[in-house]
Symmetry: C2
């Protein structure tokens, strides 16, 4: 049996970032920048005041104090967004608003709070230092400097940075299209009546949501019956995407046709991975398209998605950080392993005094998707058989931001 | 000056979840369920086999061993998705695939691996226990049980659970519409040339992306000039949304009209909050719509968004966990506070051996949005003045999933 790490390396190692496309900022959030961006303009674009106050020559204010203020003639005013008209000569000052361009001749700003204001003059109560409260041109971004590197994940602030230098369209890695095919005669689609021996297709809905939530484009292909011709047609259709994910039919049962059809259409490796849930896993190619065959049980398919499909898609998206973090967690209840495979148990983790504590979300059968719906992390019990006591430390695999939001209703609202 | 906690309580305490709407599963991910969901059908819908193997009467297999196997006549076969035709009588077995309904008369399944198979009979090599490898009807979800509670955040697996019980549309809290208005004569929109004294509108782009990324609907209103009539019209327009967010014009400068117009149109409180960046903050109502007035500096507006706007929007969305988590962080470099206000410094945190370590992202001027673009957390230096040494522990406010992805390129791909 392959280890989880061997399966991860083999699968994810075959994926490369997709080609790039140029999109407006509005469509670029959380995507990966595909080019270095140099600034066509400096930010700020001119020396400006960091405060509401008076632009002065700092030398004029030396020796000023509340007891012996320095009086300066006010020769003009500059609101933000206007060009200064007056020039600061020795013995004069210009009133400036935050963000207003510095008038010629001035080399410092005195905050309004450090003055006494009169109609035509101002008394300065503190000496200013050279450059004080002045933001210099290019202070944040010098002109023609590299602002963002290819490979940067564009968060909202990065998009603000691009807007600040006048860049409105940007090259990013395009969104992967991920085809989803559920297989099995026992599956019935939403809205259809359940026949004898039939169950509802649930994995496809969960996987579709997970793919969309990570910024890829799901291409749902519905259900393929256990019929060679239908399966072949659907697999070719799915192979037009950037990745084809199937559920079911990869075990060793007589009716597990996916394995057989995949092998005859393309190239397929079927593995048993040393983990529970999610032992059977298929990986291969059809028509040049990578195919990941997940188990049919809904929990198994979601765990396999998290461990193998998510990192593969993130690689297609151009990310280098591929997997959700593993963190040390303290077990709040004892746990016993029933076999030697590495176990991934559905859990709720909470931050308590800076440490993650984990509690299971109920019965852990791999057909019990409710346990996964309540989880925000997977507790990892390593290979081998043993029991764990409450208070033991193991690793937890966080499933997203869920563990990172705090309920401050009680203490703060 | 208000503390951050006082401002949080006053603002967020005024928000309540919006009304609900019924949407298909595809539109429900990460949204808050607005009703208890009871299961119209049990999951699984019938007793079924957890393994590929043979459905038997467990009493028939007692005493079986590899040396003395028990032979049973095979009287039928049930693939998944079919109704069983044969009945298991004493001395017989029915071949079953994983997920196949249990035939009448059978009360256990023997795994294929624990048998020797022959054309018409099977030798059982181990005794079965009553109920072994049988998943009982309603094992995951009993019929007419409460499956999900109102208030649940619908993750992909929860959507799978809903699909598994045939529920295709669901009542969730509707998405908040958040109007965004930038103000100031100095601002120029993307694609326009910069005039003297002008800078580009960057905050609006960053805020729009942040609002969209959290599942709310941004309504960008562009830039309002420092003109009473224009500002009044735009504020009334924005007040048709569920929340109106403005940037700029809330300081005490002569041209900070937002404060003045807001006060005359509705009700407004202007505060200084004991924090840096982001000291000036306005909150009030126009035409019954809550208004949050953020500072004009891009970093200040993003920090204020994170501390006050995000929790307010999450409350509108029906969430009870409102704020990103604060975690203990170890400082990797010394830091000095320059004033007594609580400081929020832009930082990169990394998990090292289970502890978050923080490093600043460069100069921290509140006009320097690049420092925010590189950050995945805010380091919080509490009120008071002191210096912090490398290795000191303070609190960090995580900015999202960024800190939770691991780069496994080097060790695993």
């Amino acid at each position: 049996m392959l280890s989880v790490e061997e399966a991860f390396r083999t699968i994810v190692g075959q994926f490369r970032p997709l080609e790039t496309e140029r999109v407006p900022l509005r469509e670029a959030c959380d995507r990966v920048l595909a080019e270095d961006v140099r600034s066509p303009e400096p930010v700020p674009p001119f020396d400006n005041s960091a405060m509401d106050g008076y632009a002065v020559r700092f030398e004029d204010t030396l020796g000023a104090s509340a007891g012996a203020p320095v009086a300066l003639f006010v020769v003009g005013e500059v609101p933000a967004g206007r060009a200064p008209e007056a020039r600061v000569e020795p013995g004069t000052a210009v009133r400036v608003m935050t963000g207003a361009p510095m008038p010629e001749g001035a080399d410092a700003v005195v905050m309004r709070e450090d003055t006494r204001e009169h109609p035509d003059r101002v008394e300065v109560l503190l000496p200013a230092e050279h450059g004080e409260h002045v933001r210099r041109v290019g202070d944040d971004i010098p002109a023609d400097s590299r602002v963002l590197e290819a490979g940067t994940v564009l968060n909202p602030s990065a998009l603000g940075v691009l807007a600040s230098i006048g860049v409105g369209r940007i090259a990013v890695v395009r969104r992967p299209r991920v085809a989803l095919l559920a297989t099995g005669d026992e599956l019935v689609e939403l809205g259809q009546p359940l026949g004898p021996g039939q169950i509802r297709n649930s994995s496809a809905h969960a996987l579709e949501a997970a793919i969309a939530a990570m910024g890829a484009v799901p291409v749902p292909l519905g259900i393929a019956r256990d019929d060679r011709a239908e399966l072949t047609a659907k697999l070719h259709e799915g192979a037009r995407a950037d990745l084809l994910v199937t559920t079911g039919g990869v075990s060793v049962g007589d009716y597990d046709l996916v394995r057989e059809v995949l092998t005859s259409l393309g190239q397929l490796d079927l593995w048993r991975v040393n983990m529970q849930p999610g032992k059977p896993l298929a990986f291969g190619h059809i028509d040049g398209c990578p195919v990941l065959g997940l188990p049919g049980n809904p929990v198994s398919s979601m765990v396999a998605f998290e461990l193998f499909v998510r990192p593969a898609i993130r690689r297609l998206q151009g990310h280098t950080a591929l997997a959700h973090a593993r963190v040390p967690v303290v077990l709040d209840a004892p746990m016993t392993k029933k076999n030697a495979r590495r176990q991934y148990l559905r859990a709720v983790v909470r931050l308590v005094d800076g440490a993650f504590h984990a509690d299971l979300t109920g019965p852990q059968g791999s057909h019990m998707l409710t346990s996964m719906a309540r989880a925000n992390a997977l507790v990892i019990l390593p290979e081998g058989t043993r029991s764990y006591a409450a208070g033991d430390r193991v690793e937890g695999h966080l499933l997203g931001e869920g563990a990172l939001f705090e309920n401050r209703d009680s203490d703060a609202v």
